[in-house]
């Protein structure tokens, strides 16, 4: 490349010089229309692991929906803004997860996500060709996030009728504009994290994002990163809307080393970094540490100690957090860096989560099988309904007449079933149902299936590994143990404000089951070539004998003397007798 200095001609530089001369503005700075907040929640889990949840929120008071083109970006990333305005997206939720969230040991995550990649998008009702737009959108997103989202096609896309309602404002509930797809096989690694970090205004240069170093993040039991875009209300009356971009990253570290007796962790031990400053663009930058289980500091101690305490309702539970405000210089103390440290003293059992689920494949042989989904309601006295969503690829042919739902040994009839049968190589099965879970019970959903034979080009490169079936999604309003305060002011921390909650006594919860790994009948892929070789050899042998028959001349040859005669002759020769 050749670099040249720019010579500005007089003609262009002598534009009318009307705009205000550069000055240091003291007071008349226009209020920025966008706002950035960052937050880190650390919760010690009862299994001895540490759960760290990052949330970065960018709010932008603009309107992608009306016809005017949005093209001037400040804090909001340009690439995502272009995607929203080009594809008329109303809501976009994408998550990449490595590992499975163990609900029974870890409790509920702030933001659930299934293993692999998950993408669900609500389009605006002005979109005419939703499928075409969805296809293009997945291709563009796979470029932005360096993921294989381009493998999303009609065979793994469904339109759930009830499970995925818009989380932002807008009362469009026509599920024609909703697309949902999962890629359970997707492996999440550094190349997905780097573009995700690039979307942050401060990048990984300042603020909480400094901690996000891939060599530590991916050396963990669970890693999940997500991007959620939705329109939200600007104020109480909801006169103006703004766009919310939430980037979340959840990670569970297994710091429990069996040999050493004491349990302790610190920011440096987890992330191999300490914090020195907040992102200068953030209007709020806070670290919360969950000390609910130990308000008196008996079980563990946090250092440096803080007196700022905050209470928040998370997932139906009132929890206490100690808060570190990074925008205050005093937080960093004299060493100008913050390295939080917790030492455990003892640990005890935790409450079982009210709702959790698991799933497995039963049966033997390669022809038929059975999918079992177990849903646990651990609430002692209340029953509540759940929505179960199952999306099964077409090569597992579900026998829907074998669908049974039993709880406590009795038949439990679902009150709503939405079933869309699959079409071979076109679309997957979609099964949605509303099931009432009795208190303190296990509800089992079973359905039988038959394995289909694929064409030889449809097999993955390692077909003997098996084929993944995405997680089932269980969404429900779980009755809360603690009464909830509905006064949802904007002051509450980010981790508690994602799912909108309407009722006082219950909270929304989404649970993902394990993905399934199903073996399909796999042919021997070298067989065509073997057949070719075999037939060709047979043909060649036939040809060879025919050729010999045609070309050789046959003569009668005097038969050679037999073996006995020859031996006899040798003996006779030795004895000096003339041969026979």
């Amino acid at each position: 490349m050749r670099w040249e200095e720019t010579v500005v001609e007089e003609a262009t530089a002598d534009k009318e010089d009307t705009s205000a001369p550069e000055t240091v503005v003291q007071s008349s700075v226009p209020q920025p229309k966008d706002d950035f907040q960052e937050e880190l929640v650390i919760r010690p889990l009862h299994s001895g692991d540490i759960y760290a949840s990052f949330q970065f929120r960018t709010l932008w008071e603009t309107d992608f929906m009306r016809g005017n083109k949005v093209s001037h970006y400040r804090l909001f990333p340009k690439s995502l803004g272009q995607v929203i305005s080009k594809f008329s997206v109303r809501e976009l939720h994408i998550s990449f997860t490595q590992g499975y969230w163990r609900t029974m040991q870890w409790g509920q995550p702030f933001l659930p996500s299934p293993p692999g990649a998950e993408l669900w998008v609500w389009f605006q009702d002005s979109v005419t060709d939703v499928d075409g737009t969805w296809k293009e959108l997945t291709n563009v997103l796979s470029g932005i996030f360096c993921a294989s989202l381009n493998f999303i096609d009609s065979t793994n896309t469904v339109q759930p009728s009830a499970s995925f309602k818009p989380l932002g404002i807008g009362n469009v509930t026509d599920h024609r504009f909703l697309r949902y797809a999962t890629l359970p096989r997707e492996i999440v690694c550094t190349e997905n994290l780097t573009p995700w970090k690039k979307l942050l205004p401060c990048g990984s240069k300042a603020g909480l994002a400094v901690l996000l170093k891939s060599e530590k993040l991916f050396h963990s039991s669970f890693h999940s990163q997500a991007v959620h875009i939705r329109p939200v209300c600007q104020d109480w009356q909801c006169k103006t809307t703004s766009w919310e971009l939430r980037q979340t990253l959840n990670v569970v570290f297994d710091l429990h080393t069996p040999g050493q007796g004491k349990l302790e962790w610190s920011l440096f031990k987890m992330f191999s970094r300490t914090l020195t400053e907040a992102c200068p663009l953030a209007s709020s930058s806070k670290i919360y540490i969950d000390i609910t289980d130990d308000p008196q500091g008996e079980q563990f101690e946090v250092s440096p100690a803080t007196h700022l305490l905050s209470q928040a309702m998370v997932l139906g539970d009132r929890r206490t957090f100690s808060v570190y405000d990074l925008t205050q210089q005093i937080t960093f103390g004299t060493v100008r860096s913050l390295n939080l440290l917790i030492r455990w003293k003892s640990s005890e059992d935790m409450l079982r989560p009210l709702l959790h689920a698991e799933r497995y494949v039963a049966g033997y042989g390669l022809q038929t099988g059975e999918i079992h989904t177990l849903m646990y309601n651990n609430h002692p006295y209340r029953s509540f309904p759940v929505l179960l969503l199952d999306s099964v690829p077409w090569y597992l042919r579900l026998y829907i007449h074998t669908l049974t739902v039993t709880s406590k040994g009795k038949d439990n009839k679902p009150s709503y079933i939405h079933y869309q049968p699959s079409k071979d190589r076109v679309r997957p099965h979609l099964l949605e149902m509303l099931v009432q879970l009795p208190p303190n019970s296990v509800t089992e959903v079973t359905v039988q299936f038959e394995r289909a034979l694929l064409k030889w080009t449809e097999y993955t490169p390692d077909p003997n590994h098996g084929f993944y079936v995405g997680s089932s999604v269980i969404s429900s309003l779980v009755p809360s143990i603690v009464a909830m305060d509905t006064n949802s002011t904007r002051e509450q921390p980010l981790f508690s404000s994602f799912f909108p909650c309407k009722e006082e006594s219950s909270y929304f919860m989404r649970v993902y089951t394990e993905p399934l790994l199903v073996n399909l009948p796999t042919p021997d892929f070298s067989m065509p070539y073997n057949v070719i070789c075999l037939t060709c050899t047979v043909v060649a042998v036939g040809y060879g004998s025919l050729y010999n028959l045609l070309t050789r001349s046959f003569q009668i040859e005097e038969p050679s003397p037999g073996l006995a005669k020859r031996i006899a002759n040798i003996i006779r020769k030795m004895r000096g007798v003339p041969p026979l």
Binding site: V8, V24, Q26, H72, C202, K205, T537, Y543, Y547
Partner: protein
Amino acid sequence: IIVGVPLWWRTTETYRAWLPVSQINELSNLQLQLSAEVEVVFARGTVTPEQQKKVPLTQIQDEEHTVDGDLFINAVCLVVTKIRRLQGNICLKCVFSRGHSFEVQDMDVYVGQRRTALLRIGAQMRVGKTLDQLLAHLEPRIKQVLQVMSFSHTDISAALSDRVRLSPGNKESIADSMRTFKSSPGYEITFSLLNPDPKSHRLHWDIEGAVQTYIQPLLTKLASVANFSIDSQTLYYAMLGVNPRFDSSLSAYTLHSDSLAHVINPVEARLGSNAASSNPVLNFLLYVPDAHHSPLYIHDRKKQEVPSNAFHSPRWGGIMVYNVNGFYGPEAVFPVDVNINMAKVMGVFLAQLRLLLGVQSSTAPSGFLVAPCGSNGLADWELDRLMWSRSVENVATATTTITSLAQLLEQIGNIVINDNIAEQVSSAVTSLQLAVAELETGNLRFALQYSKEAILASERAFFDPSLLHLLYFPDDQKFAIYIPLFLPMCVPILLSLLKIVSDARQKRREKQAKKD
């Protein structure tokens, strides 16, 4: 054999649609004929009424530009001499007038904002000379005007530079042609404000208003050439790739022109490509150095400060360094709010944009005075110039694409050619022919339109995924299929051949033995 051979032939042949190969070959010679219409208007009193009647109405000047021997551009300058009859909007007008209508005395030719040029007839060419002499005197002038206002040899060879290797020694024109973006149906213009130090500077730029005031008029004018879309972003903590050196004599940091090439690499990773389209992106970066490295100046090869403090990279975009340290004192409390003077910034970016789009005024010959361009930053004749070179470039590119596609398909006999590819190819060929025809008649707008269509169709045909999919069946795989059949079959044949040879030898030996 009767059944097997045709069956084998049928099953192994590939579908290949018909392509207009002969027309493509014809096009690949690329004989373009460009014609520009010139209307010559004599001002009152320049010619006598008797002469007026004798002025020939039309006059055609042929001019042949040969670029690298194998293609000719036949530039026909159609000089229509008309007297006091102004009409038509696309053609050039040369208005001749007597000397005193010029205000500046040492100017011979004045090129106006629209498509008009004023020429002065020298003092010796006053009334009384014969008409032939007058016309002969005019001819070289008109030629000069044409070269400035429509197209010249260098323009055309620059437009064809990808196709034709330029003769060495023509460095300047190579640089010119390399600087300009390649012709494309659309461009994305991205303005980025790089703020490496958000802790000390809180920058405010009114990019929306500035684009409306400064850039949009130019782009509206260029709308017939290409579609433009503009966006802007602010990038924080974006560092340059080079550490500027501190120059104690200036008490400022300097960036030498040799190191400029390394400057943008780390920035470019964060600029991001446009997710929504695949058009080329023109990047314009405004870099505000951080408080500890201010002020920052760019030095050219002669170690002189560049007055605009900006530089541009060919076919990429431009960077301007904007120092803000002068606007606050040393005791200022960080962060400081700074409003950026967009008029200054946009002046630089507009100049860069003109260069990168190829709207450059080639150095006018001596005696020419070019009027300053109007409020939209682009004179009509400059647009014409751009359209001329863009059409020629488009035609050349489309021809190259189509020719190479045809060659490729001819060379590799195994590629399946679908009907839609054949359709694309023939539509590209028709548009090309139309574009060439329009260029001949001088209809710039249509020529550009058709040449764009030709490019689109040819690219679509060239990059069709069906050509890539099972691009060809490699020969080694064919061998792998056929060897199990033919190798065992060869064994008895070879054995019998060996036997024949040995038999023949033995016979010869026996014959020799008999002779002996």
